[in-house]
C-alpha cells in the first residue's frame, strides 16, 4: 500500500495523432517499467483494431515507479482513455478516477475539436491540467502561437506549458517532474468502508472478466467478498493487482490506488462502467455519483451474406456482447436479407469496430444496412414507441408525432473552409449555436439531428475542408420533427432493408440521391431495372438502370477455355456476394453505400 502523498493519478488528453500514445510509451520507458527489449510501439493500444487505427477503445492503465528530483519515490498511475466521442461516457468515468491531466497539443497543429471535448471533461472532473506542447522537433511547430491559443480557446493558463518531443524524448523528464509537483495527490480515507469506482472491464480468455478500478476509500484485499452496487451481486476477489503494464499481483490496494481484480465474474455485462464496488460485509453508505448505464444510439441491421452462417453469426454476436455491455442486439428478419440481427451501438466508430471484429475474428461475411437512430413515436393512443428500424414504422395514421435525437457538435476549422462547413451544417438541418474565432481558426457550435450525422457527415466534412476540420459531439435531447418513411423500390418491388426515415424537407433530395447512387451500385442486368423512391405510395424520384447491351468475349478458342472457366467461377463467387431481389441482384455494399449520396 502506498501513502496518498506519494501517489499521482493522471490521464492524457489529446486530439487524435497529437502524440498521446507516443508520450505514454516514453513515460513507460523512462521510468523503466518495460525494458527496452520488451518495448513495442504503443504499449497501451492492445487490440489489433486499436493498433491499426491508432485509437483506444478500452481504458488501459499503467503504474509507474518514479524517483523524483526531491529524492522521494512516487507511484504514478496513468489511465489511457478512449478518445472518441462514441465512448464519452466511458471517458468521463476514467476522468473521475484521476486527479489531473496532461493536455497534449501538437505544436504544429494547435487545438482541435477533440482536444476541446476531452479537456472540458477533464475540467468538469475537477482536474489540475498541465499543458504539454508536443512535436516541437518539427520545423512547423509554433509553440508560442499554440500557447496563446490554449489560453484563448480553453481559457487555462499555458505560461508553464512544457515543450517536448515525444518522438525524440526531449523534455520528458520535465513532464514527470510536473506530474509530481503540479498535480495534487489523491484524497481518501483508509479506515472508511471500501468504495471503488468501476472504470472499465473486459473479457480475458484466461482470466475471465477483468475489472479495472480506482479505490476512493477503504482497502480492497485479495479474498475479500465484494458487492457491485448497481446489480447487487457479490463476488470473491480472486486475483488483485496492478498493470506495469504487465499484470503484477498485490495483496491489497488502498485509497488513491488504481488496479484490477478478477472475481469469477462470468459476463462483462454484469460489470457496469461507473458502478461502485464495495465490501459486502461493510458496505459504503452511498454509491459514487454519476453512474448511468450506457445506451446505444445508432442501430443497423447485420445479416450474413451466406444464410447458412446465421447460427455462427448468432454465436459470434453473443460472444462479443458478453464483452461489451453497450452493444445490443436482437434478431431481425428482412424480406430482402433473410435472418440477421438489429444491432445497437454507441456511435459509428463503435459500429465499425464491432463489424470489423465480427468479420475478422469470427470470419463472417456480413451485409450491413444503413445506420439509423432511435426515433420516438408518440402514438395517438398515448403510447410511446422507440423505433430502431425504419422497416418497423407503424401506420402513419396512428402516429401523433415523431421525435428524433439531436446532438451538439463542435467543429474547429481554418477560416478559409468555414463557408463550406456552415453550408454543410445548414444542409443537414443544423442550427447554429455559436461561432467564435481563435487566430485563423473558427470554432462553430451547431445543433444537428443525429440522423443527419450518422451516415457520412464526417466524410463530407473532411472532404469539404481537405481534412483540416475537427469534429466532436455530444447527445442533446429529443425534438419533434416532420419525419416520413421513404421506401426504395427496385424493379417495382420495395426493398425493406433500404427504407429510411427522412425529414420531409429533405425527402426529394435524398430520394433522388439514393436512386442515383443505386444506379451506380447495382450492375446492369439483361433487362432494364427501374429504381424508385416513394413516400406512402407516391413516387418522388426515379432512375433507370439500363439493360446490358453487349457482354461477350470476342475470341474464345482452344487456348482460352481454361481462363474463361476460371473467370466464370470467380463471377459465380461474386454473384454469391449479391442478394437476389426478385430478378435483380443487389451487391452487399449497396445496402450501406446507397445512403452515401453526393450533394
Amino acid at each position: 500500500m502506498t501513502e496518498l502523498s506519494q501517489i499521482r493519478n493522471f490521464s492524457i488528453v489529446a486530439h487524435i495523432d497529437h502524440g498521446k500514445s507516443t508520450l505514454a510509451d516514453r513515460l513507460i520507458q523512462l521510468t523503466g517499467a518495460v525494458s527496452a527489449r520488451d518495448m513495442s510501439e504503443q504499449m497501451l493500444d492492445n487490440m489489433d483494431i486499436e493498433r491499426e487505427r491508432g485509437i483506444t477503445i478500452k481504458a488501459q492503465t499503467v503504474r509507474l515507479d518514479y524517483k523524483a528530483k526531491d529524492g522521494r519515490d512516487y507511484v504514478l498511475n496513468l489511465i489511457d482513455t478512449p478518445g472518441h466521442v462514441d465512448f464519452s461516457y466511458e471517458v468521463s468515468r476514467s476522468m473521475k478516477a484521476v486527479e489531473g491531466s496532461l493536455l497534449v497539443v501538437d505544436a504544429s497543429q494547435g487545438v482541435e475539436a477533440q482536444t476541446l471535448a476531452n479537456v472540458y471533461q477533464a475540467i468538469d472532473a475537477g482536474h489540475e491540467i498541465v499543458p504539454v506542447l508536443n512535436k516541437i522537433d518539427l520545423p512547423a511547430a509554433e509553440p508560442d502561437r499554440v500557447k496563446e491559443q490554449i489560453e484563448d480557446v480553453i481559457g487555462i493558463d499555458a505560461s508553464q506549458a512544457i515543450g517536448i518531443s515525444a518522438k525524440t524524448g526531449l523534455n520528458i523528464d520535465q513532464v514527470l517532474e510536473a506530474i509530481v509537483e503540479r498535480l495534487p495527490p489523491p484524497k481518501g480515507d483508509r479506515e472508511a468502508p471500501l468504495k471503488a469506482l468501476l472504470v472499465d472491464s473486459w473479457y480475458d480468455a484466461y482470466l475471465g472478466v477483468v475489472v479495472l478500478f480506482r479505490v476512493m476509500d477503504g482497502v480492497i484485499r485479495k479474498g475479500m467478498k465484494i458487492k457491485l452496487i448497481s446489480t447487487n451481486a457479490n463476488y470473491h476477489v480472486e486475483r488483485l493487482g496492478v498493470f506495469r503494464p504487465k499484470m503484477e499481483m498485490m495483496e491489497e490496494l488502498g485509497p488513491g490506488e488504481i488496479g484490477f481484480f478478477t472475481a469469477a465474474i462470468k459476463l462483462v455485462r454484469d460489470t457496469r462502467v461507473g458502478d461502485t464496488i464495495t465490501e459486502e460485509r461493510r458496505p459504503a453508505a452511498a454509491p459514487l455519483s454519476g453512474f448511468k448505464p450506457s445506451l446505444p444510439v445508432v442501430f443497423c441491421g447485420m445479416f450474413p451474406v451466406d444464410a447458412a452462417d446465421f447460427e455462427h453469426m448468432r454465436d459470434a454476436i453473443e460472444k462479443l456482447s458478453l464483452n461489451d455491455s453497450s452493444f445490443s442486439h436482437e434478431m431481425e428478419t428482412s424480406a430482402a436479407l433473410g435472418f440477421g440481427f438489429r444491432c445497437g451501438f454507441l456511435g459509428l466508430l463503435h459500429l465499425e469496430i464491432i463489424r470489423e471484429r465480427l468479420e475478422r475474428e469470427y470470419d463472417l461475411d456480413l451485409i450491413t444496412t444503413a445506420p439509423s437512430v432511435v426515433y420516438k413515436l408518440h402514438m395517438r393512443d398515448g403510447e410511446i414507441i422507440e423505433m430502431h428500424n425504419p422497416a418497423d414504422m407503424p401506420d402513419v395514421m396512428k402516429i401523433e408525432f415523431i421525435e428524433e435525437p439531436w446532438i451538439k457538435a463542435t467543429i474547429m476549422v481554418p477560416d478559409e473552409y468555414l463557408g463550406s462547413v456552415l453550408k454543410l451544417c445548414q444542409d443537414r438541418r443544423g442550427v447554429q449555436v455559436n461561432l467564435t474565432y481563435a487566430g485563423s481558426r473558427a470554432m462553430a457550435t451547431y445543433r444537428l439531428p443525429l440522423s443527419e450525422v450518422v451516415i457520412d457527415f464526417y466524410d463530407k466534412l473532411k472532404s469539404a475542408t481537405k481534412g483540416y476540420a475537427s469534429f466532436d459531439y455530444g447527445m442533446d435531447g429529443y425534438e419533434e420533427g416532420d419525419l416520413v418513411k421513404m421506401q426504395i423500390l427496385v424493379n417495382a418491388e420495395p426493398v425493406d432493408a433500404l427504407s429510411v426515415i427522412v425529414h420531409r424537407s429533405q425527402a426529394e433530395r435524398r430520394g433522388r440521391g439514393m436512386c442515383e447512387k443505386l444506379k451506380e451500385l447495382i450492375p446492369p442486368h439483361m433487362f432494364q431495372v427501374p429504381v424508385q423512391a416513394a413516400i406512402g405510395g407516391r413516387i418522388i424520384a426515379r432512375e433507370t438502370i439500363r439493360a446490358l447491351r453487349k457482354d461477350v468475349l470476342a475470341k474464345c478458342y482452344g487456348g482460352d477455355i481454361t481462363r474463361k472457366r476460371k473467370l466464370l467461377d470467380k463471377q459465380k463467387e461474386g454473384k454469391k456476394r449479391m442478394r437476389q431481389f426478385g430478378k435483380v441482384d443487389i451487391p452487399q455494399e449497396a445496402f450501406i453505400n446507397a445512403l452515401k449520396i453526393d450533394d
Partner: protein, 402 residues
Amino acid sequence: MPIPDRASPALSPPSSEVPEDWRSGGFGLYVHWPFCKAKCPYCDFNSHVSAQVDQSRWRRAFRRALEVEAAQTQGRRLDSIFFGGGTPSLMEPETVALALDSARELWPSAPDLEVTLEANPTSVEAGRFRAYAEAGVNRLSMGVQALNDPDLKALGRQHSAAEAQAAFEVARKIFPRVSFDLIYARQRQSLEDWRKELKLALSMAVDHFSLYQLTIEAGTAFGRLHGLGKLKGLPSADLGADFYDATQEICEAAGLPAYEISNHARPGAECRHNLVYWRYGDYLGVGPGAHGRITSEGRRFATETHRAPELWLAAAERDGIGRLHEEEIAPEDQATEHLIMGLRLAEGLDMARHARLAGRPFDPERVERLESEGFLRREGGRLIATAAGRRTLDAIILELAR
C-alpha cells in the same frame, strides 16, 4: 499434378456402349509457332520476336513431340490440323511439311482432313504460299485486320492494305479455302467507316471470315496505355454494341451469317478445326504455350505446355512433350466448358449431352425464364442462344452456370 498413364488406347472406353463425350466434337491437332516479325500492341497471344530461329531444331522437336503424343492417342482419326501463332507463315515450308508428314504418318486422317495455316499478309510470306500448299495446307487464314493504311499503322501491323489485298489474291489462286480476319471498333473508327470497310471486305471474302471486336488485353501495350487513360478514341460500350449489331446485320444480308460469335461463313464453309473447340471435342496442343483437351479412359485432361519457346524446345528435345502440366477436368467443369463453348455457336449445344456431363439437366425454370425473355430457344433437344442472347452471352452463361 501426377501425370497419369495414358498409354492404353482410348478408342474403346472400358465398359460402356456410349461413345466418349469428345467424339461429338471430333479430334484436332494444334501446332503453335511462337514467333512474329514484330509484336502488335493489342496482341496477347504467345508470340515472341526473335532474330534467329534454328528451324532444323524446331523440326526435330515437333517430330519428337508428335511421336510422343501419338503414342498416347492411338486409335483416333485426325479431323483437322491447325498451324497457329504467332506467325506460322514465318515457318520454312520444310518445317510445315515435316510436321504435316509426321502427323499423317502417326495418325490416320479423315478423308477430308482440313489443314489450316495462319498467315500474315506481307509479300514475303505470299512467296511461300505455294510451297505450303504443296506440303498439304488446304486452308489459309490471313490476318488482314484492317483495310486502310492509317488503321493498320495504329494496329502496329507490318503490311499495307494493298499488300494484304495482293497477298489475298495470291492465296485465293493457290488454296481451295481462304479466310481472313478483321478487327473492328478500333480507335477513332466511326460506325459509318466500319460499314463501308465491311462491305469492301464482303466483296473480297470468298466464304469465310472472322470479325473480332478489338479487345483490350491486360499485359499488352494497348492494355498499359488504356490503364493510363492514354488509349484515345475507343468507342463507348454503347457504340461497341452498335458495331456488333451492324456487323451481324450486314453479314447476314450478304449471306455470311455468324456461325459463331465472331466467325462468319457460307453454310458448309465453317472452319472445322475451330468447330472442334466449340463442339468441345478433343485436341492436342503441340508447341510453346499450346493447350489441349484429351480424354483417356473416360477421364478428360487439360494440358498446357511451357510458354517460353526455349523452355518448350529444351523440354521437347528432352522428353518429347514439353508439357508444363496436365490437370484432370472434373465432370462438372467439363459441363461448364461445354456450355461456354457450345452456346457460342449458332447451332447451340445438345442438352442431353450437357446433362450427361453435368450429372443433371439445366435448371428448367431458369432456361424457361431466359427463353421467355428472348435470350435462348430450344429446338430439337438443342439449346440455342438467340441473337440477343449471343450479344450478352457471357451474362447468359453466368446465369445458367450459377
